[in-house]
């Protein structure tokens, strides 16, 4: 297998982008990544997107984006795996470069979520769950994660305040990220006191509806040494796993087994353990999701994700900074773009380009992206080369 490096990343300001179309959002991030990498060609591209069909009526994103990026006739492939679409698209690009089939590959992720109203967005997102045996009964994604939260609270004593602390910390980080959608700071009382969506989760426990895209350029490490003018970042680990589509069919609804297995594979490939990781971007679609994710990734003991989040260990400057970008909570969650944006944040951190939110001496970072209630998960490990 060929060693692979990330040589360019492209983000953009996320939010409710009324004046920008699906294709414009993607191409803006892709051009930023191409400029960052300084490449004059792309050999193949991947587009992570969950459900542009339901959000905008547009499918066939591979061809659309290759066309508007001006790179036809290169192969362009869309990857869908609910909210893990971006992370899994990155893995597909990685596999293509590692196999030697292509040299310079662009991996982008995109979602344009505000062309439908709130009910339309709730429906589009709900298609990541079991349509016949979960959604049929009127459940929503906040409702599914709320059931995980209640079970975690009753089993391990996780508190309302600990959930809030995740949101407070991620908004603190996001306030330092110019690309974040919601840069306001929060307090634990404000999170707990905001409108209830699905007990015990409030609106400020939930990630927002966001338009946005992110992109990365990858190539063999040997090529990167010749053409890249940036500090080199190597992809050393990749793992992906699945679990039952329906939450209620899991033996333990508080445990993200797919994230645990994806992480085990990534750690093994990179030859490292959780304590070797300097920082991580994890899939905090809801506050409880970050608590469960840091347990599955080995950053907190099983059941201790709450206390670890409360005592500052996951803040910038703490033992294991989590979601320095602001996470899905503050930066926003354009579902198909999220997994690629995690790669962008870790790459910039490892290059020392993160300004106010820079983690000191960051040498090795991890990304964890998941779809549905973690029926899919993908983990990557990036290191300073």
């Amino acid at each position: 297998m060929v060693d692979v490096a990330v040589i360019g990343v492209g983000m953009m300001k996320w939010g409710e982008l009324w004046d920008k179309s699906l294709r414009a959002v993607f191409v803006e991030a892709a051009l930023n990544a191409i400029d960052d990498a300084g490449v004059d060609r792309i050999d193949s591209m991947y587009v992570g997107c969950m459900t542009s069909g339901l959000f905008t009526g547009q499918e066939h994103l591979g061809a659309l984006m290759a066309d508007y990026l001006g790179v036809c006739p290169i192969p362009a492939t869309r990857v869908e795996s609910a909210c893990a679409s971006g992370g899994i698209a990155f893995r597909q690009g990685l596999i293509e470069v590692a196999s030697g089939m292509s040299e310079i590959v662009l991996v982008g992720g995109v979602e344009k979520m505000t062309d439908v109203d709130g009910g339309g967005a709730t429906y589009a997102l709900s298609t990541a769950a079991d349509q016949e045996y979960e959604d049929y009964n009127g459940v929503t994604f906040p409702g599914l994660y709320a059931m995980m939260a209640r079970a975690h609270m009753e089993k391990y004593g996780t508190t309302r305040k600990q959930l809030s602390e995740v949101a407070v910390k991620n908004h603190d980080n996001g306030s330092k990220n110019p690309n974040a959608q919601f840069r306001m700071k929060l307090t634990v009382d404000k999170v707990a006191g905001s409108v209830m969506v699905a007990d015990p989760l409030t609106i400020l426990d939930c990630s927002p509806i966001t338009d946005g895209a992110a992109a990365a350029i990858i190539c063999p490490l040997e090529t990167a040494k010749k053409i890249s003018k940036k500090p080199l970042v190597r992809v050393t680990g990749s793992g992906q796993a699945t679990d039952t589509i329906a939450l209620h069919q899991r033996k333990d609804v508080t445990w993200l087994a797919a994230a645990e297995i994806a992480a085990e594979k990534a750690y093994k490939m990179a030859g490292v353990k959780p304590s070797d990781i300097d920082l991580a971007e994890v899939h905090d679609c809801f506050t409880i999701a970050e608590i469960c994710a840091i347990e599955a990734l080995g950053f907190a003991e099983k059941g201790k994700g709450g206390p670890v989040s409360e005592n500052g260990e996951t803040a910038i400057g703490g033992r294991i900074p989590i979601n320095t970008s602001g996470g899905l909570k503050s930066k926003g969650h354009p579902v198909g773009a999220t997994g690629v944006a995690q790669i962008c944040e870790i790459t910039e951190q490892l290059r020392g380009e993160s300004g106010e939110r820079q983690v000191k001496d960051a040498k090795r970072g991890l990304t964890q992206n998941m779809g549905g209630t973690c029926a899919s998960s993908v983990v990557h490990i990036l290191e300073v080369a």
Binding site: T122, Y133, E134, Y136, N137, G138, T140, P142, A198, V253
Partner: protein
């Protein structure tokens, strides 16, 4: 709108709780499967799920999907049936604040929703407090 076939084909599960029991390892699957995810065997016998169980976890939906918005707030939970099968359904005939984890429930046949003003009325199962 979906065709009626999509609704009709799930009736054995939604109306009669029909499940499949693996002839290899005895695992019970609901809805039925073509291959056992525990042992890989492809032979099953039909079984009917138990209609009593206990609430494992639950939530109260306050921001509902469009087709349920007239009903919110309503409770949804994961119920472990007495035969060990886990299902998800609404918990009704009680106030949301009366629901507790571990609460015994009975599974009953109820109307779940309807497809617009003139579409199919969708039935299924809901949990109600036992006794």
């Amino acid at each position: 709108m979906s065709t009626s076939a999509r609704y009709w084909r799930e009736i054995p599960q939604r109306y009669r709780y029909e499940a499949s029991k693996c002839k290899g390892c005895g695992a019970v699957w609901f809805p039925p499967r073509l291959i056992c995810a525990e042992c890989g065997k492809r032979e099953f016998e039909d079984v009917t799920l138990s209609n009593t169980g206990k609430v494992q976890t639950f939530t109260v939906i306050r921001v509902a999907p469009n087709e349920f918005c007239d009903e919110s707030p309503y409770a949804i939970g994961v119920v472990e049936l007495d035969d060990g099968v886990m299902i998800q359904c609404q918990i009704v005939d009680c106030l949301p604040e009366e629901i507790k984890t571990g609460m015994p429930v009975k599974i009953e046949f109820r109307k779940v929703k309807q497809e617009g003003q003139a579409g199919i009325i969708n039935y299924g199962y809901k949990a109600v407090p036992a006794a």
